[in-house]
Symmetry: D2
Subunit: 338 residues, 4 copies
Amino acid sequence: MVVILENNATEQQIENIVKHLEDYGFQIHRSSGVQRTIIGAIGVKPGFDTRKVKILDGVSDVYRVTAPFKLASRSFQEGNTIIKVKDVEIGGTSIAMMAGPCSVESEDQIFRLAKVVAESGSKILRGGAFKPRSSPYSFQGMGEEGLKLMRAAADEYGLIVITEVMEISQIELIEKYADIFQVGARNMQNFSLIRELGKTSTPIMLKRGLSATIEEWLMSAEYMLAQGNKDIMLCERGIRTFETYTRNTFDLSAIPVVHKKSHLPVVADPSHATGFRDQVAPMARAAVAAGADSIMIEIHDDPENAMSDGPQALLPEEYKTLVQELNLIANAIGRKLL
Amino acid sequence: MVVILENNATEQQIENIVKHLEDYGFQIHRSSGVQRTIIGAIGVKPGFDTRKVKILDGVSDVYRVTAPFKLASRSFQEGNTIIKVKDVEIGGTSIAMMAGPCSVESEDQIFRLAKVVAESGSKILRGGAFKPRSSPYSFQGMGEEGLKLMRAAADEYGLIVITEVMEISQIELIEKYADIFQVGARNMQNFSLIRELGKTSTPIMLKRGLSATIEEWLMSAEYMLAQGNKDIMLCERGIRTFETYTRNTFDLSAIPVVHKKSHLPVVADPSHATGFRDQVAPMARAAVAAGADSIMIEIHDDPENAMSDGPQALLPEEYKTLVQELNLIANAIGRKLL
Amino acid sequence: MVVILENNATEQQIENIVKHLEDYGFQIHRSSGVQRTIIGAIGVKPGFDTRKVKILDGVSDVYRVTAPFKLASRSFQEGNTIIKVKDVEIGGTSIAMMAGPCSVESEDQIFRLAKVVAESGSKILRGGAFKPRSSPYSFQGMGEEGLKLMRAAADEYGLIVITEVMEISQIELIEKYADIFQVGARNMQNFSLIRELGKTSTPIMLKRGLSATIEEWLMSAEYMLAQGNKDIMLCERGIRTFETYTRNTFDLSAIPVVHKKSHLPVVADPSHATGFRDQVAPMARAAVAAGADSIMIEIHDDPENAMSDGPQALLPEEYKTLVQELNLIANAIGRKLL
Amino acid sequence: MVVILENNATEQQIENIVKHLEDYGFQIHRSSGVQRTIIGAIGVKPGFDTRKVKILDGVSDVYRVTAPFKLASRSFQEGNTIIKVKDVEIGGTSIAMMAGPCSVESEDQIFRLAKVVAESGSKILRGGAFKPRSSPYSFQGMGEEGLKLMRAAADEYGLIVITEVMEISQIELIEKYADIFQVGARNMQNFSLIRELGKTSTPIMLKRGLSATIEEWLMSAEYMLAQGNKDIMLCERGIRTFETYTRNTFDLSAIPVVHKKSHLPVVADPSHATGFRDQVAPMARAAVAAGADSIMIEIHDDPENAMSDGPQALLPEEYKTLVQELNLIANAIGRKLL
């Protein structure tokens, strides 16, 4: 931590500040210039609230020297985390595709769409059984029945299953059917939930909150890493800005930034980021070009009657075409699609 | 729902749009001008995804005619909801003060601060026993022991208790000790939690999410109202913007807007909104002037050693002075402080 | 400037960083802890781009030690700037009211409204003659004719005139008729314009840009102060956020923050911040309670036929009532209205 | 315009609303459902302030039926605008590259960098002679001398010149030396400036304001189109959000949205959007993949001593490598680089 003093800080104020820092357990290095004194406070504890120092008389500004996350940082682990789920790797050279419907709706539907996923050469099937909906009057998902159907469809076509977990009481149940837990954007800071998930050994995809900073996103990953689960992937799905022509603003610059700060893989979800079918393809292409390690796409073969998010679902043929386009872009940057 | 067609929409496109709307169960009113056709679709179901229509060929824009919330709206209930908790009313003419520490830390601490609250004439004691912290390495609260101490302190001084609930498994426990549940900003869209809380009959204060629109905030209230709990109060605690000199941007204009759209009372929390002690008083005064029905203030008598949020806590004497100032402003707008 | 090095920065990297800092003209203080080295670089030039250091190998973070503004800061001038315009003071104990129509529309209109302002005891008449409009098809103002009418109306009723200047070529013209220049939100960073305005000796009210940070706002004030004009007042008029129920988010927390960082007075404009008549009064009250030094209100006696911004204009009687309410709140915090 | 009435609007209120609409010059279509009445008001004038209707008693909501821009819209012109500058086309199948230093600094510098641009096969040289700087203490550009040097360098290497215009008085001067005017983000709503520029016949690149909505951006283009200049290109350069790890949030989703709403070409500027050299390449690749019609890149051969924005400038070799990568991605989506 670095403490910048006011130009006109008195010697008495400085002594008081130093005393506080020492009481908080820091080692002190004081540098006095002609105009201004700077205090380096070494030994900061994770989670220390720097405002405690900022409000002391004579203090102008306080800066943390270390990021508040450790296990998630590049300085903790230099090489990329590669998450292995059965025969699929996420975070390596290949770009893994995840696709499927927003919600599991019926046996027929999920088997038909699993077939599309497999035929496209993709390996990971997505689908919601428990749905977080902003309206209490909307479809809330098929529950365990949906999980069973998705597992059966995935097994039929040799796919891996990712599905969302919304509350602690669902963890055990979902673990029976799914290969990867998804934590939704609105639960990114549901600390009770993510702490419990961190105790499992199932890989987890953590969606970024609608207005979460990259630092907060990595802190939520840190919560799970601190409990022992090392297989955490992050998912950018759009942030909230003032713009109203788009549903969310897809923050692709988050991808290289996370790759610089952290060793964890980054998934991009252009379906939720844009909310409209015709914008999914250009944004999926952009995500691959920006360096995403995996792309998640919603698909549906009867989107007009989909129980949720039909307007952003690609049709099976559109998905197959997109996979080919993405492959070309992946090749252009020395990667390949999976 | 109103559907605006493109200038150059063909008759075939229009017929297709009308057919879709009828299939979705709407009654149709078509108005054709020289340049443009507008279709009124009457009978919208709550939760209908208007994007389903927006993506049809020939459609330019779609607008919902009704707010997506019903029970929370002024058109459902014209008069203000007044929530009665023991002998205190929230939402009436009086402005109820809530005060106490961020976290319950010890028996001594909570009794000393409960005394301050009572001596100031305030009736509601706040304090956290389960703490949502963005760092896994920070103090996470005293748990049930904290609840017991807070209840005892409140009983000693004739106060009402409000405290935060973070997960479904805590509901039953907290209900034994508290008079009002608090739902934190990061749980505003934890739909599993708020649905369960809606099944209780204990009053609930719902904090606004950091980037929640007023509509989403009211939708989360709707979740709880739809389960039968009528005693919902909303709490503005600052939203996230680009500004970095303040911790959050305290959105006081939300107060008159909520009062116009909804019958539910609005609490204002300047402590979390600003994050710094010296900005709490001016923002508390502004909140009363803007029409808040209750003000929540964090206080501490040894903020330097507080387990959490010490820098934003007022000292006991500062709180007492503030209460007097707020009383003058309340009187100026025809209300009084409680 | 403080330079935080990476944990694993090599000695060679550190030497290279030190050499760069010295070449940029800084004096160096190096503090090496067990884990990490911090370099204090004293003697920062205003306008130095800290990214030049941030991109050097081995650097983790760089923080400016001094605010980028000097003349606008409290450390440059401890006491409040009080701007005297004829017999009115802005920035002292009294809270000066500014009122008038959005646009000057006719001789009759501006005389009638100037009378309302004077009868309410207010001293400053606002009105636009050159209008910045987001549509090229909207009314663009009466130009010089509007300035003449406003000056005549103000003289008739003993008022001071504030009006907007949009481009350099208007400065000389407007100076003949107005007592205070207004710089609009969209011109806050029109550096050519504000530099020229800084060369005049007429007081200036600088509106905050729609997404300007407080620091950028103060930097724009610095531009004008650096040219010699000391009579700069700042005007908060709402910032842009994701919220759509309000036109802008009125950032009242900016008021105490600016007062802490700077000696310049702060005006609050609830009319533009909210955009709707029924929200103006509560937000004006809140602005006084938050410590604003002046309040600017749009009024109109025939708002339905106003050439611009009618929906946010108060009626004459509403304005008179508001002035009385604001007086009560001003008294409650030890100030009075002017 | 569509006017949605309150559920409980009285017949008298409805009549009053209808009368207002007719007085404002609209034709009326009234649709009454069981619960609710909707009024279609045909014939809206561009620039009509819908708040005038929104505040009438009995009105619940008002929606514009037509976009506020006309000349910039796809419905006005279906095919893409292709801007021809000498032998270069912007907006066609080819993706035109623009590159050069942030500021022209010396004859040597601009000739060396023009050579790099030409050797890379790019056709457009960028460089600032008049610089908008947020600090009054920063380098403000070489002025006319810079323009002369850039023109000479461009002529030597057969390049086109784009440079920024900051104020009306510079238009005539810059037109002598440059082929394309650049309007900076902070001047996007400097309506005086853009109106004058619209009267010229020189192509204009309009940067998006830091917090401008896409609609406002298109409205500013409309200002220039309405004056007769048809050669307007838009430039996405990052928007302001809450994120602090990046300088701005590069809003790539704006590219397909603008292409849907408007016929004008879109340039992407990853240098300003990210602010750091190591993020420029991934974001440039993403911009090509997202469908940008041109990419603007800052380059410098001695970025440590650049007068401005050195940290975001690519080195000459980095630029040449990037051009090759972008070519591969362009090919993958059926386009080619120029």
